[in-house]
Symmetry: C2
Subunit: 130 residues, 2 copies
DNA sequence: AATAGTGTTCTATATGATATAGAACACGTG
DNA sequence: CACGTGTTCTATATCATATAGAACACTATT
């Protein structure tokens, strides 16, 4: 039903991994508003983890407004692609990256070229700039 | 001597905060190779934290090769601005941001425009794209 | 009505990271 | 020698994470 995996060796908590993946599934449109997510016990069984851990992820998503629920029913996707919110998050990520790049002396052109190379998919690799 | 501050309410561990700030000071050139960092007890006194916590940050930086030390002496900045390493980290940050942007449907042009706006310093704010 | 499947709440335990604390040690410097 | 380094050791306290099981209220199905 859903494509969620978990890395046990990761430093990222399991419930955060689930949280992020469902967020991505919803924002990318693979999960649409009205779709229900697996029950905490079901997903816990698949991932071989405790259902309380799954619920921790769901409740975090509920706090974010991404999931809604009614008693006795499963959690359901509430939002689709909230452009403004995601856009703000992406912008913040970009801002942090740029701040760091400027701090170590990269020029605006170098930063823009880096972005272009990444977008092209196949770049010459890191290490041959400036 | 050095400009380091700590947020006690942050979810980021104190020793990580120190770690990041010294890294930035070294990479930005405010701390040059050969400069010594404050002694763990001295910095701990200024920040009003335990000196073991400061030492934890220093040892993490030593593992990264950014600090070097000799017995009985203070930690000393080893590297200056290791372009390739920082560049790789920045590239990785950029890659993650772009992946996320593409996932939610932003086009290449929109991403490039976002970067330009951020670089210009004063952009129209988030929320008015596409 | 009975059953099964939801999420919820409660108590409990175990582990690891974080942070503090103090003592003792080895080494370099003044 | 005295002082300031970092280091090592043991210890404690707290918090986040994860697991565990029981009991509950509600929904949907049979």
């Amino acid at each position: 039903m859903v494509d969620i995996t978990v890395e046990f060796n990761s430093k990222v908590p399991i419930y955060i991994q689930i949280y992020e993946q469902i967020k991505d599934l919803a924002y990318s449109g693979k999960l649409k508003p009205g779709d229900s997510v697996p029950s905490s016990r079901a997903l816990a069984g698949l991932l071989e983890i405790n259902y309380h851990t799954v619920n921790q992820a769901y409740q975090a998503l509920w706090k974010d407004g991404l999931l809604k629920m009614e008693r006795g029913k499963r959690y359901v996707i509430a939002k689709g692609k909230p452009e403004n919110e995601v856009y703000s998050e992406i912008e913040e990520e970009g801002r942090e990256m740029i701040n760091r790049a400027l701090m170590v002396g990269l020029t605006e052109d170098e930063i823009m070229n880096l972005m272009k190379r990444i977008l092209k998919g196949k770049n010459g690799g890191a290490g041959n700039h400036a």
